[in-house]
Amino acid sequence: MESTDVAIETTQLLRWIILFPLLGAILNGIILRLKSTKLAGIVATAASLAAFVASFMAVTRWGFSLEGASLVYDQWFMWFQSGKVSVPFWLEYTPISGIMLLVVTGIGSLIHIYSISYMEKEVGGYRFFTYLNLFLVAMLTLVLGSNLVTVFLGWEGVGLCSYLLIGYWFTKTENAQAGMKAFITNRIGDLGFLISIFLFLAYAGTLQIQELNHLGPQFFSALPSWVLPAALLGLFWAATGKSAQFPLYVWLPDAMAGPTPVSALIHAATMVTSGIFVIVRVWPLFASQPEVLNVVFWVGIFTAWLAALIALTQNDIKKVLAYSTVSQLGFMFTALGAGAPEAALFHVLTHAFFKALLFLGSGSVIHGMHHEQDMRKMGGLAHHMKFTHWTFVIGTAAIIGFPFTSGFFSKDLILAHALSRGMVPYALLLTAALMTAFYMLRAYSMTFMGKPRSDAADHAHESSPLMLIPLGVLSIGSLFMGWIQTPHFMGGGHLMETAVKSSWGGAEAMKPFAEHKISVGGEILMILAVVALILGVAYYSFKVYREFQSKKFISPAERAVGPTTAAPFINASQNKFFVDEAYDLIFVRPLRFLSGAFFRIVDETGINGLLHGMRKSLDFSSGILSWAHTGNVQTYAWYLAAGAAILLIFVGRVLL
């Protein structure tokens, strides 16, 4: 460590947070390999709970605001070191890590519990729980890692687990395909992460996050001006992969092929937010680069908009939630881009709760419907699944920003920051929020309202208590989590702000953009207007879709949005704006073509062709030579005489 005036506290607690789930994974995956899914689930849940307890201990020990500028390290072991590259496997506690720890282990544990019931009919479900535990290991490494490579280890680790879990039902090729798509898309992003690492290594000479924070903009301003932006853009590029932003978001909707608890844990609550988390960790660097933040900002807005548009017309309940996730992640990036890491992280937190809730709720529905995910075949489930229904209502309320639910606070914070960057972004973001209200109410209404539209819906059953308890807990979180960080005029908590600010190891982050002061009254007015708009849209959507009938609504979105002139647009939205097809056309096919072409042209025709050509020319020349060997002794003698004559002539030339 470079000598700073920062006090360093060492501990050995943090490693246990990782070791417990690792132990669980080893037990489940290698040693026990239980036949009973339930028992395996219990083992895994125990491991997860143990990690939660350890996390809790850590949080109680250091809290959400580190005094002054102290660092907490668990200096575990030296991973590898060579020359300039030094990668210690150290774990670090920062307040934001603390928050993430609680989210990951807490929500993780809930989802473990939920899964015990959800997966009980699986044969060999121990595999599932092994993967879940492994995911926790990786995610916690990501959260706790003290340097970029350790973070990267977790980063790729969660990618691997996501790959495994998406493709959990691997007998269907599409599932395996979706897993692969996720992994590869993430890898595209990871290249950015690596480039960023290499840039930091080459120019700053260190990969310890806090050291980078300490070096700060002053250090980097001495280097070529492109270095820091490039490195940060690399990180952001990686984040667009992991956190499903445009252009790399395409894997997330497909990732819904995995079991629903996985979607809840990985593809909603934890993994997909790691991009935001990592950016917040090196925020002092980002804060010094407004241009980079601008990119982040607009990508966030665009993604929020695009995903919301697509979500409007999806019929698969999990797809709606998936696009909603993409859209919400876009909100978070917008917050980052607007220079408000606390807002982004706050939304991460609240989103973790309500989105996990929504996913688990939809999981409960799907479970009740015997793995039917098409909303057009649902309807009227409110009667059959009362508890699930009410938790889903809470989740929906939270996500659309119903006043005083958690989503209300976080989303309004983001909107406020967006406003400070100008009216246009604000308007765009607001539209996205309105669309959120529309599609969420649409999903809610189609699922729970009206009459059952299929036998399965008619005979749907409420899920077991083991699945409902997590729903309950998450509902509570979704309702009240917002109060930890409230608008200034409400005077409530500002835990996020303090946590974020004390997470940089004492380094200061500058304000990237000028503060835009709005009067308290104006702010309240604005919030009220927003709430009114949102509720209006929500009510409209509710009204339209409450009586949704599958026969009548062959193209339900068409009816929803209005006249037929919009039909092409709806078609496009339903088909996700053909982004997948475009990627296929622009990247996948050319790559496949190139690979075949290169192999055939360079290897087979070129190099091997050259070799065969050489062999042929050898054959040919030996054929010619063979023709010269006539077998007639006089020919032989002729060569002798001619050879002698030629030699004599040459001698003559040389000599005379």
Partner: protein, 174 residues
Amino acid sequence: MQILTYVLVALSIMSGLGVILSRSAVVSAMSLMVTMFLTGLLYFSQGSYFPAVVQILIYAGAISVLFIFIVMLLDLKPSRVLIPSRKIVVFFAVLAGLFFAFSLMFLILPGVSRSSLVGELMSSEGDVGLFNAKSISLNLLTKYMLPFQATTLLLLAAMMGAILIGRAGRKKED
């Protein structure tokens, strides 16, 4: 004397041509004998009497006769020098020969005419003692004793070969 030498040279070359141009093997063999004889005379003309005698006795007398015997023995039909398929062979052979001759002359003549080689051969009378049977035999019996002895092995081998092969050829007829 000089004219005589030129005549001998011309004659020997002509008979040499006869060897390679004649259609009949008998004519060739006779021409060979004549060439040998003329060469012997050329030795005489430069005063190398002993080699001349040897040449005429052994070469012209024995080896050529051996050829003639064989020609008679085999009773060969006259063969044409130029049959269609051989034209190209002949062409190339002559080409190679001319090149050979040309390059040899090219190399030898300037050297010979430029150097101390130009000039009269030593007179045939003055140094008979130096270049006669005795001096040659002395060489063979002292300096070249070992090669000379080795020729016995050589002849033995040739003899054995001739016997072996001749016997084998005869066996066929049996």
